[in-house]
Subunit: 308 residues, 2 copies
């Protein structure tokens, strides 16, 4: 193309106010430069942060992202996956409910680019990006143990077999207790729906069986624990020490400052996007892999040295 025609074209674009129609291009090229993300809980700190990283990574590559919230409802998740596919997204990053194994599997068989985040589905051999949950639980227990704590509890939503991180955290917690020679007390496993955690904790407290330390497995349960200690005027860390997973933005301004175990959300989001783009680039011969990210222990003030 000659320099002159190039100019003439530029002129024409301007004069006619030409605006390209990417939809038409997409129809022809069979690529939309758009990926879909389906999350099971948009109110979760982890979700927000990972989403942010995914978005950043996508914007750099000129991709757009459409986010849908399945609200942990498998039916909704199914519907959104279908809609997103109908919209011809080039790939899907899913924070799975875990209950649509058949659909995930079909995606896989069609070699449709797919990455799981946070949770995974063991029977579906897809890329997955998650925390080393066992390690996270271990970190918490060891830290407590080394400071002389013996009665350690865990606070989590109900055990559900297909919700992998939760299972892994509880199981990691249990094993770490055993490894440290600490008692495994049933009462100390507060495994109930978020809105009931308060009541459960208060019940324990009033019956004088509250443990000395609590491990909150995510930001949502942490909030309940904090509300509980506030409502009952419990002193932290003297009466009750706390460690939780997830970054909460106020950990360093809270009194006491909160000792937490942080997930590398940014790296996780970046990795998820990277793996997806890898699949998009060469759909065949992709070796699915599970990536376990190491948690970071952030020592702050909600656990003290027990000198008793």
């Amino acid at each position: 193309m000659s320099e002159e025609t190039r100019k003439r074209i530029a002129m024409a674009i301007k004069e006619l106010g030409y605006q390209p129609n990417i939809i038409a291009r997409s129809l022809k090229q069979k690529t939309t430069m758009t990926i879909g993300v389906v999350v099971f809980n948009i109110m979760h700190m982890l979700t927000t942060q990972v989403l942010h990283a995914i978005e950043e990574e996508c914007q750099e590559r000129g991709f757009h992202v459409i986010v849908s919230n399945s609200d942990d409802d498998p039916e909704k998740e199914k519907k959104y996956i279908e809609m997103l596919r109908a919209k011809q997204v080039d790939g899907l990053i899913i924070f799975p409910t875990g209950k649509n194994a058949d659909i995930y599997q079909k995606l896989l068989e069609e070699r449709f680019p797919l990455v799981f985040v946070d949770r995974m589905v063991p029977e579906v051999k897809a890329d997955a990006v998650l925390l080393d949950n066992q390690k996270a639980a271990e970190l918490a227990v060891e830290y407590f143990a080394e400071r002389g704590y013996e009665h350690i509890g865990i606070v989590t939503p109900p055990l559900v077999s297909h919700i992998v991180p939760r299972m892994e955290r509880i199981e990691g917690f249990r094993q770490a207790l055993v490894k440290k020679g600490l008692p495994v007390v049933d009462d100390y496993f507060i495994t109930t729906e978020i809105p009931r955690i308060q009541k459960e904790l208060t019940r324990l407290y009033e019956s004088g069986r509250l443990p000395e330390a609590l491990f909150a497995i995510n930001d949502l349960t942490l909030m309940e624990v904090l509300y509980f200690i506030k409502g009952n005027h419990i002193n932290t860390p003297d009466e009750l020490a706390i460690i939780s997973i997830d970054d909460v933005p106020f950990a360093h301004v809270y009194t006491p400052t909160l000792t937490t175990i942080s997930q590398p959300t940014f790296a996780m989001g970046k990795k998820a996007a990277e793996r997806l783009f890898l699949q998009i680039a060469k759909k065949s011969e992709h070796q699915p892999q599970v990536f376990r990210f190491s948690p970071t222990f952030i020592e702050r003030g909600s656990v003290k040295e027990k000198t008793s």
Copy 2:
């Protein structure tokens, strides 16, 4: 269409594994059932919450939403608006940087569905959904005044004329002071970049000129104030009372609990989506309107009754 053919079609769909291609439909129908949202700061509490409401409203109507983060950079904002338009989104909800008046205006002239949120652009007559900022500032000052506070400061990022809420909050603050017969002290206007707020506050404190009460105009400035009081072991509310705008998730578990002025983020997101859909439905004869939402004062524990 007969019942039988209906069945036969359903059969064929299943057997052939037919998947509709919405892209092709969009090309023909000139509607994508997708809206674009461009926000200037995704890390802002308000943004997250309004976004959530918008998403919910859209999902109910079968629309998808593509979110882009302009990072308060007009160039990026411009680029994203263009890309979104090229992608044929049916409408745009913009949390504007405020610096692309010409582009917003062009959108308007083309009768392209457009709603501003949080900030507005006075010279562009488009739908806008924002807080009654003046009222919010008034609420704070009055509450302080009625409890005997005289030395009241405000903490905000720098004054920038095109950032409407910030201007309105500061101006509302100033006017409320005057109205209440309170002194307007230059020193008490901490108007500096977020990362410098700490230093500024500390400087005031060390020179003994810290006001008795502080009004933080958003969640980000609040975090700085909290970090400051934490670092300098300042007692709240005894030494320094605090009121801030925006919901922070820990307001009720913090010690003391935080008195805040909440924006009805959910209603605002819903309204923004509604207005957009109204424009999409009948592009012509749409009367742009500015919607001012009333802030809600939530009395908690970071302000005390001054009995001196």
